[in-house]
Subunit: 277 residues, 2 copies
């Protein structure tokens, strides 16, 4: 953070273990057109989803420090694994900044979409093991029952760009059929990994039509907007933002190529600055 | 390495980015029953396959240093990505030790199995991009033509334990059908990632029966045996080995659980020592 504290003209810092968080950045750019963003993908150490909580907290702290050093007015943890493990630590360390993770907004979206309170969350192994979604959902709705599903193969499919077709549908059926058939099945499926929105079409077809499919990107953007407004940190509507800056800890070419899938617009390797964190 | 240099009674050090190299360890244990082994999986930073070459060289050097500090008489780089990127560097730095990667033995197996000299290699993106297999194969057979195929989804399938069934076969067809049909198709497929031997059954069914399927585990073990013999570092046949030591840089529980798939025998988290490298 800059020595003088957060100011409206500063960008919003967003970080993820890699490129999946670009789905959140995309929602932030759409919801907050006057804001500027700096996005950091910790591609040297991705994926976080299979690492221990202690390692993830350390990595997330280093990402937050790198963004704060560049001058940001808010931090968005656009990685479910990192938000699960490190939100409390970062919110404490950067108490003067709004710090938003994707878990609480995702939980809010799921609770809003479920009638029965039976909610399934598909996420990385690390996120499921950490139990942050169970905690966040039951805080909002104490009688909810939450079923976590580890879905690591989806991460590889999304990064390969195999977002439609028989393979992703077969994988979706393998992960989900046992969950959504039978009495007492959930009526909402939360995408608890920022890679998964690009697979939403195939996931939609693999679950019964009565099940709501929700992700955290839009509700995270709403949470950021509300916090900026509450703290007087929003830029004036209509102010032209600076172009989004992209930082990565490894592999600018791959970041740009795979990142385009998640960002939904072309990215060139020359747009990506390599940094150490 | 111990101050007094390599001695026959020391174990052989084996490292990989994670658990895939356990397929190589398994072949080494089978081929060298009198030898002891210490295996290091750099699970905190896996996978190497999507990282830049510079990062992989740095990680591999740190793994080798950690093993050498424990006293080993040879180093086996049981990770195709690391062997592709870092064998030269490590062989130079540890000139007093036999240093064996999986690339050259894999290339030798493929050249031995191919009649036409048209060889396909399926590997991680990093290995394919690095071109080490093209170089190793054409050194052995200058008229060979090598086709690299990036197969990242296979890594996720292997780690999930989905080693048989319609999903892995569909993925195999997606990666391979375009390669093995038509005139001028390769007549050998080399598994250029240590994760892939556990998928061999499904891969075998996805390619024409006339295509040879080869991996580097057995030929790597042969190369290690030959080098130990040549340098007078082999233990006497029949000497009972010490139990294999397992080191990991993160997540002992996951290492044991997923590692069992690759090692082909049960591993418990208590068998895995967490280390910093």
């Amino acid at each position: 953070m800059s020595p003088s504290g957060p100011r409206p003209e500063l960008p919003i810092g967003v970080f993820d273990s890699g490129v999946g968080g670009l789905t959140v950045l995309r929602a932030l750019e759409a919801a907050l057109p006057a804001e500027s963003f700096v996005y950091l993908g910790d591609t040297a150490r991705l994926p976080y989803g299979t690492k221990s909580a202690a390692s993830v907290v350390r990595y997330a702290s280093q990402c937050a420090t790198a963004l704060a050093a560049r001058g940001v007015k808010a931090l968005v943890i656009a990685c479910n694994t990192a938000a699960s493990a490190a939100l409390g630590e970062l919110a404490q360390r950067y108490a003067e900044l709004p710090v938003v993770g994707v878990v609480e907004p995702g939980a809010r979206a799921a609770v809003g979409a479920s009638r029965s309170g039976r909610i399934a969350v598909i996420a990385t192994e690390g996120t499921v093991r950490g139990g942050a979604y169970v905690a966040a959902i039951t805080r909002l709705r104490p009688d909810a029952t939450v079923r976590g599903i580890g879905g690591s193969v989806f991460v590889a499919l999304a990064e390969e760009g195999w977002t439609e077709g028989p393979i992703v549908e077969a994988v979706a059926h393998r992960y989900l059929d046992g969950v959504f058939h039978g009495a007492g099945a959930p009526d909402a499926l939360l995408l608890g990994c920022t890679h998964f929105p690009v697979l939403a079409g195939a996931l939609r077809r693999a679950i019964p039509p009565t099940v709501a499919l929700v992700d955290s990107a839009a509700t995270t953007a709403q949470a950021v907007a509300a916090l900026l407004a509450a703290r007087g940190l929003a830029r004036a509507p209509g102010t032209p933002p600076a172009p989004t800056r992209f930082l990565a800890t490894d592999g600018a070419e791959r970041f740009a190529r795979v990142g385009s899938i998640f960002l939904g617009r072309p990215l060139a390797a020359a747009d990506v600055e390599l940094v150490d964190v």
